[in-house]
Structure formats: structure tokens, C-alpha cells
Amino acid sequence: MNNKNPGSDKAIVVARGLKKHYRRGIETIKALDGVDLEIHAGEMVSILGPSGSGKTTLINLLSCLDAPDAGELQIDGRSVAGLAEEDLVKVRQGILGYVFQKFHLLPTLTVAENVELPLMFLQRPVDREKTLGVLRMVDLENRAGHLPRELSGGQMQRVAIARALIADSKLIIADEPTGNLDKGNGEAVFALFRRLVLEKNLAIIVTTHNLALGALADRVITLEDGRIIDERVNRLV
């Protein structure tokens, strides 16, 4: 399959006219109402917007956890519209790393085991050296053998980021990763994302309702009522 758009040969996400509607009683909620988006490798995009503006809905579509009602979506050159859950998993596997607001580490597994969890599902061999390397990237190498409950919130979120990195994902998608963190830890997470974009040429999409944090991205997209109402490019050094 080769549906690459001309002029965006490095685009890892291409979305055209994405729609997602929810029905609540007789009312139809247009959670997403026609979103166009392109994201390239080596780019960090933040999605801003008030609560209920459709950020999570958009993130879930982009990360292939959910299917759009209308519109076109390509991830790494593969069209995913209309794919069933089983096929969406295949698209996610190995391309996409997902980071959640609540970290969601498994409490019985150590930090290193949590990081390695995706490899079990990808049926890839575990390489402890590599795990430690990824943990070093998030500055938690010395916590490899700890259990999640022994870590602080900021540390747990960095473990979750390491978990998103272990399978050599090209795209990291993070929904409100700083929502449960204080200011300092929130800034640390965004700084880490910046570094990963620069050092590993990843594409990162991150939602937040914190304007100051959002401004740390290359591109800032503002959503309201399921539509993009503003898009600006930052000149970051």
C-alpha cells in the first residue's frame, strides 16, 4: 500500500475530515466535527482546548484505539479508516507508543518489566540492556527493579514514557500526560518529549489544557467543539 501524499513524504499521520459523533439520548454530540491534521517525524504537536473540546476523542482516533465515523486517516502510510479492532492493533503495534494521564503501570511488575510489557505483546525478545538504555533516557536507570508504588507521580509518568519508547515507536501519543503532575514534573515531561523529538526524530502528539506547557511544542493546535479553531507554529530554539 502506498498512499503517500505528495509534499508530505515524511508525514506519519495524515487526517482529513475526521468526524466522531456520539449519541446521547436524542441529542447528537459532535465530539469531532471535521479535523484535518498532518504530523511529521521530528515534530512535537500539542493539542490545546478546554475540557470537552474533543482532545481525547481525537487522540483515540489518531492512536487507532477507536474508529472515526467519517474522514480519512493514514498512519505511517497505511489507511486505517474502516479497519476492525484486530487490524487496528496491528497498525498500533511497533509504530505507536501511548502515554496516559494516569500512567497505568501494572502494580505487580517492576519498572523494567512494565517497560518491557509491549515486547511481550509484540512477541519480541526482551533485552535488559536495551530496557536500561531506555530507562536512562528518562533518567530512571537506577529504579529498574523498583515497583511502581515506590515511585513518585513524575517518575511513574517517565516509566510510562519509557514503555512507549521500548518498541522503537515512531509516534508517541500522550493524552494529558501532565494532568496528574505538579508544575515542575509537568515541565520535565515536556522537556523530555522535546529531547526525544530532537534526538530520536520521533513524532509526538500531546494534549494539555495548560497553555504554557502547550507552547513548548513545535506546533500548537487549539480545538473547540470538535473543530480546530487555531493553529500556530512556534519558532523554538
Binding site: L65, E86, V89, F100, K102, H104, M120, F121, L122
Partner: protein, 414 residues
């Protein structure tokens, strides 16, 4: 298989819940295993006890075949006698290949000599015709143990001589050459008469009722009990034993009054069916216990699936497929059921004697000693059964978990 260790870790997250669920399975399996083990062991023990009677058919006074059977196997009270002429008539039957008359009586045995205890107990006396009797039981040999050397059978006409079964000799501490006292109330008299007899031989252990029997010549037994022309049982073998041959034989001798012909195959069936009533009861308890335990497993796994809704969503988001999630939950269920199976078998092995006593107290089943036989086959069946139960119990929870939509699972988990 790559999820085995992971599934195990999940189980240890709630050790008490997992432990209780495993315990429920273990108890159910233990009951089932003991029951099957008892069934096998009991049949086996009935088989050997009856085979060691040496004859396939016996003639005895009319009564219920169960009484007949227990009397033969345990030695019984309430003995009914036949006229000695029965033996003379039947022995002429052309189909008979071997035949022996037996006179059974119960003596009061006043504890005497070395032990010096007061009180009394009973001794089962078998009056036998030596040659035909040992022809029936060629495995019977004289013990050559310490103090038993030089043992021999008595002659048919000898008086004052007895041969003791192994357990009698051991219990009474009698050696060859010792005196043995029996107290018998002769038929038609009121006063018991004590007689001193001499032990001329002690038999090797046979594992049957013969071990607890005192043997003497049939003539002497008749005299001591004052029943000069009576006997209790005629045991014999048919030349070509079959159900048909037995029925034909029975028809030929139906003319004898107050007599029944009992095939030992029939006795086996009677004894087995007798215990089956008790077994059916316990088996239904076991079945209910297994069903309850399996429902418990399903419930406990479902609970843990719902508790981990968010987690399952995360696993899907980081790359787990439906079948991965299905396998994980299914393995957890299997581990609980197999763990319960193993624990149940161990429990059954260690609790065998208790179970036996419980069954024994429900019904007197005609033989004695340990007989719950938990064979490797039974254990294998129990483990396979638990695995199969695990397979089925795991289906629904695993399907529920696999069907969780990641988005909703994550939302609920937040």
C-alpha cells in the same frame, strides 16, 4: 505460553481471594478423588476377599445373600445350619470339580493365660475337612516364623487340636504347642463348657478373614457345638463355571429345602451395590461441590477482570490483541483450577483414612482394612478434570476481557 509468568503474577495480586478459590477447588477435587479411590479400592478388596474364599459357589441356609456374604467375609453371628446330608447329596453332582463342607461356630473366648484380662470376646471357629479345604485354598501355608516352626494340619479324626489364623495367633500370643482355651455353649444346653485345645499350627497371613479364624476338624467342631449332623456352608467349584452352568446347577438343587445356592459373583455385586448407595450420596455432594467451586472460580476471575478494566485497556493500547488478553485471563483460570487439582489430590492422599472412616461409619461394607486406592490413573483423571474445568470456567471471563473496547476500558479505568 509467553503469558504464563505474567498470568501467575496477576494471581498473586490478590492472594487471599486466589487462595480461597483454589481451596474450594481443592476440596471438591479431594472429595471426588477419595470417592473414586474408595470405589476402586473397595471393588479390589471385595474381589480379593472373595477370590480367596477359594470357591465360586456356596450352598447355605436361606437368607439374604448379603448376610451370607458378610458372614463369609467377616465371620458372623446368627448362624443358620444345614443338615449334613446336604453335602452328601450335592457332592454327587457331575458338574462339581471340588467341594468342601464347612461348619462355622462362634465360641466365647475367655481371656486366659498370659494376658490375664477379664471379660470375654468371640472367636470364630471353622470346622473343616482338611484335604478338601486346603485343595480349595492352595495358597494357605503354615507359618515358619519364630515359635511357629513345625506347624502342621490336624487329622480329620484328631481331637483337641487347632490351627490358628495368623492374626489369632498374634493377638492371643500363641505359639505352636501352646494351649488354646475355647468356651462353647453346646446346642440345647445352658452352661458353657470350656475346652482346652492344643495349637498344632499357625497359618501364614492371607489378608482375608481366615487370619482371624480358629480351624479344627469338622467332626470335633460338631461335637463341641453339639450339632452332630449339621454344617454351615458347602463351598465348591464347578467344572466349567459360567452364569448358565450356575443357573442349571441351582435348578437341579432347588429341591433341597431351606437351602440357597449363592454364586460369589452375585455376592460381589450385592456388596458393591450396597456401598453404591452411600457412594451415590457422597458423589452427589462431590458434584455439587465441584459445580460450586467452578462457579466460584468464574466469579473470582470475572471480578478481577472488572477490577482491571483500565489495565486491560492499557494492555490493548500498548499492543495486546484480543487473543493475547483472552489467553492471559484463560491462563489465570487454568492456573487456579490446576492448582486446586494438585492441592486436592494431595489433600485426598493425606486425608484418605478420614474419608474411609466416614464411609465406614455410614455403612458396614463387609471387608476391613485400608482400601481407598488413589492410583496414578485416578490422580491423572483428577488433574485432567481440573484442567478441563479450568478450560470451561475460563471461557466466559476471558471472552469478556477480550471484548472490552480499549477506549471505554481506559475511560472506565480513569
Amino acid at each position: 505460553m509467553r503469558f504464563v509468568a505474567f498470568a501467575f503474577k496477576n494471581l498473586f495480586r490478590r492472594p487471599v481471594r486466589t487462595g480461597l478459590t483454589v481451596l474450594a477447588i481443592a476440596l471438591a477435587v479431594a472429595v471426588a478423588v477419595s470417592l473414586i479411590g474408595f470405589n476402586i479400592g473397595y471393588r479390589r478388596s471385595i474381589d480379593t476377599s472373595i477370590d480367596k474364599l477359594g470357591f465360586q459357589v456356596m450352598i447355605m441356609a436361606k437368607g439374604c445373600p448379603y448376610e451370607a456374604a458378610t458372614m463369609m467375609l467377616k465371620g458372623g453371628t446368627g448362624l443358620v445350619y444345614l443338615p449334613a446330608s446336604t453335602y452328601d447329596q450335592v457332592r454327587s453332582d457331575p458338574d462339581i470339580s471340588a467341594i468342601t463342607p464347612i461348619f462355622v461356630g462362634v465360641a466365647e473366648k475367655e481371656a486366659s493365660g498370659i494376658s490375664g484380662e477379664s471379660g470375654s470376646s468371640f472367636a470364630i471357629i471353622s470346622g473343616i475337612e482338611v484335604q478338601s479345604f486346603i485343595d480349595m485354598k492352595p495358597w494357605m501355608t503354615m507359618s515358619e516364623g519364630a515359635g511357629y516352626k513345625g506347624g502342621r494340619w490336624f487329622g480329620d479324626d484328631s481331637t483337641g487340636e487347632v490351627v490358628l489364623g495368623f492374626e489369632v495367633a498374634e493377638y492371643e500370643q500363641r505359639k505352636v504347642g501352646d494351649a488354646y482355651f475355647v468356651t462353647i455353649t453346646p446346642y440345647g444346653q445352658v452352661e458353657p463348657v470350656m475346652t482346652e485345645l492344643k495349637v498344632v499350627g499357625v497359618l501364614e497371613r492371607t489378608g482375608t478373614q481366615d487370619d482371624g479364624t480358629v480351624f479344627m476338624p469338622i467332626k470335633e467342631a460338631r461335637r463341641l457345638f453339639n450339632r452332630p449332623s449339621e454344617l454351615t456352608i458347602v463351598g465348591f467349584k464347578l467344572k466349567n463355571f459360567s452364569g448358565l452352568a450356575l443357573r442349571q446347577f441351582e435348578q437341579r438343587w432347588a429341591k433341597l429345602p431351606e437351602v440357597q445356592v449363592v454364586g460369589l459373583q452375585q455376592v460381589k455385586t450385592t456388596l458393591v451395590s450396597l456401598v453404591e448407595t452411600a457412594q451415590t450420596m457422597i458423589a452427589s455432594v462431590a458434584v455439587v461441590a465441584i459445580i460450586v467451586a467452578v462457579i466460584g472460580v468464574i466469579n473470582s476471575i470475572l471480578m478481577s477482570v472488572f477490577e482491571r478494566t483500565g489495565e486491560i485497556g492499557i494492555m490493548k493500547a500498548i499492543g495486546a490483541t484480543r487473543s493475547d488478553i483472552f489467553q492471559i485471563i484463560w491462563l489465570e483460570t487454568m492456573a487456579i483450577c490446576l492448582g486446586g487439582g494438585v492441592a486436592g489430590v494431595l489433600l485426598a492422599l493425606s486425608g484418605t483414612s478420614l474419608v474411609e472412616k466416614a464411609i465406614q461409619s455410614l455403612i458396614d461394607f463387609g471387608t476391613k482394612g485400608t482400601m481407598v486406592a488413589i492410583t496414578p490413573e485416578v490422580m491423572l483423571v483428577a488433574l485432567l478434570g481440573s484442567a478441563v474445568a479450568g478450560c470451561f470456567a475460563g471461557l466466559y471471563p476471558a471472552w469478556r476481557a477480550a471484548s472490552m473496547r480499549p477506549v471505554e476500558a481506559i475511560r472506565e479505568g480513569e
